[in-house]
């Protein structure tokens, strides 16, 4: 009897421990965001967003970093999207089961786990130096594109996989070629899923700091980029730079910039989830 009661107690105790742990992470996150809001919210105004960086904390703004981030996101998408979707289509619909296809799969799985800073080293040597792009927006975009490529490929594959086999059967039975089936049936049907994957990888890319530092993105850039060959900074690097300064004013700036960065990140995530839900509803109709 005693044993059973003890076991019951242990069970109950674990339940509360479980609830505690589950809430722990979320509570801590709430505390983080709370302190950041307290620190930085008052600093956010139109000037902050449109000002250039400055040695004077009160005058400094995120304009160049923000435009840099926009440039980087845009070019990265331009490079990674077609490449990733094409690779995913090949792996999912064309590649025959065999050595080549296993190697490709293992390789992509491995690339997804490579630390982002290693991509920075790759970008430094290949894009900045060998291809002589310098520490430009282009070099940064290529580097990040390679970084998010595995994510785009995997999520596109999942989206294509979700299209029922019956659609493929019907299309082939009507005499459509493989490419016609892919372009006229599979891609339209999986579009929502692909979009979700792309937006999620962008929300990851917007927060990437280390690889861009390695390729030479500057911490102090007095101008916004106007061409892909320009030097640049991005929002997280600006934040990093301000954190490294001892003056309290810069800590406030960092907090304010973080709020903007978090807003962008969470917005992207929310949009992705919205599209994913809409797409899943459409598919299950």
């Amino acid at each position: 009897m005693n044993n059973i009661k003890k076991n019951r107690l242990k069970d109950q105790a674990f339940k509360y421990w479980g609830i505690f742990c589950t809430l722990l992470g979320l509570v801590l996150l709430a505390i983080f965001i709370g302190t950041i809001l307290i620190d930085g919210l008052q600093r956010i105004n139109w000037d902050f967003i449109t000002n250039l960086p400055s040695r004077n904390a009160d005058k400094a703004g995120i304009y160049t970093a923000l435009t840099g981030s926009v440039w980087i996101l845009g070019l990265t998408t331009l490079i990674a999207l077609p490449l990733g979707i094409a690779a995913a289509i090949y792996l999912e619909e064309y590649a025959k089961k065999g050595k080549l296809s296993s190697i490709l799969e293992i390789n992509i799985s491995n690339l997804a786990g490579v630390p982002s800073i290693i991509y920075g080293l790759l970008g430094l040597e290949v894009f900045v130096r060998i291809l002589e792009m310098g520490s430009s927006v282009l070099a940064g975009s290529f580097t990040l594109a390679l970084l998010i490529l595995p994510i785009v490929i995997v999520s596109t594959r999942e989206a294509i996989k979700a299209v029922p086999k019956s659609i493929r059967d019907a299309s082939y039975a009507m005499g459509a070629s493989k490419w016609q089936t892919v372009s006229m049936q599979l891609l339209p049907a999986s579009f929502g899923g692909i979009l979700t994957g792309v937006i999620l990888s962008l929300s990851r890319a917007v927060g990437e700091t280390a690889p861009l530092i390695v390729i030479g993105a500057l911490a102090y850039v007095p101008f916004a980029p106007s061409s892909p060959m320009d030097e640049f900074s991005v929002l997280p690097i600006q934040i990093f730079n301000w954190i490294s300064r001892p003056q309290k004013g810069f800590e406030v700036n960092a907090a304010a910039a973080i709020i903007i960065l978090l807003l962008i990140t969470f917005l992207l995530n929310a949009v992705a989830v919205y599209f994913r839900n809409r797409w899943q509803k459409k598919l299950n109709n």
């Binding site: 019956s166 019907a170 039975a173 005499g175 459509a176 049936q185 109709n285």
Partner: protein, 278 residues
């Protein structure tokens, strides 16, 4: 003329009378022998039914005629399949062209997640046909043939997935008809439908055979009896009997062989479990 050549010529002209002809067919999935040696000739503008218990190979055999088995890993075939006298498994055969001539309707209705119009027009669009008027006429024509036109004409842009099961299946038949095949393969086309829709489709098949050659796989004995001119009975990869439907269902071959006797009981009583191979 040498005797052998003469025989071949006669053979060939006999085969030419047949719309479809299969000889010496054996089908393997890796090491599993799914079809064990079948010869069959099918006449034009008739409805031929394939019947038999689950797993007997009737669907596999059906799919030989539009080469849908090609997509299955490990598929291997011996023998010849001729359509209008031409071997469709020759290397230079354009499979996509073949499938415009031989259409297929599947067991579970599988309309594309597009509008009703786009579904029916798909087969034409993949051939490169862009003429709007032509497409519209063709779509209307095909929908009329399957008696769906009146029900959907007010909103052809509605999603095909919003139609009922029976309507979706008729839509699938319509899109097959739009490319003007000469042969239509139907793989248990009504098994996922309610009795009313089933009846409508059986009516449709009866109408369609005037213009098309139809092969229908069905596990429903009564349907085969109602709808087909000739019936082929498959069991475990073999073709047990192939004759006019009337003959198979009312007066099957009497033989002293216990196997055929049991099979007779099976067909007469329409019960699977009485069938025991020797």
């Amino acid at each position: 003329m040498v005797k052998k050549e003469k025989e071949q010529l006669i053979d060939k002209s006999l085969k030419k009378q047949h719309k479809l002809s299969a000889s010496g067919i054996r089908v393997f999935y890796d090491n599993f022998e799914a079809i064990k040696g079948i010869d069959m000739n099918i006449k034009a503008n008739k409805v031929t039914a394939f019947i038999g218990p689950s797993g007997c190979g009737k669907s596999t055999f059906l799919r030989l005629f539009n080469r849908m088995n090609d997509y299955i890993d490990g598929f291997r075939m011996e023998g010849e399949i001729l359509i209008d006298g031409d071997n469709i498994y020759k290397k230079k055969v354009n499979v996509e062209q073949l499938r415009k001539q031989v259409g297929m309707v599947f067991q579970k209705p599988n309309p594309f997640p597009k509008s009703i119009f786009e579904n029916v027009a798909y087969g034409l669009k993949i051939q490169g046909i862009k003429d709007k008027k032509f497409l519209q006429d063709k779509v209307e024509d095909s929908l009329k043939k399957v008696a769906l036109w009146e029900e959907v004409k007010t909103d052809l842009n509605k999603s095909a997935l919003a139609l009922s099961g029976g309507q979706q299946q008729r839509l699938c038949i319509a899109r097959t008809l739009a490319v003007e095949p000469s042969i239509i393969l139907m793989d248990e086309p009504t098994s996922a439908l309610d009795p009313l829709s089933t009846a409508k489709i059986e009516e449709l098949i009866y109408e369609l055979k005037k213009e098309y050659t139809i092969i229908i796989v069905t596990h429903n004995m009564q349907q085969a009896a109602r709808v087909s001119d000739r019936t082929a009975f498959f069991y475990m990869g073999d073709l047990i009997e192939y004759d006019s439907t009337k003959k198979i269902f009312t007066n099957p071959e009497k033989k002293a062989n216990r196997e055929l006797h049991n099979r007779t009981i099976w067909i007469k009583d329409l019960k699977y479990d009485k069938f025991r191979p020797t």
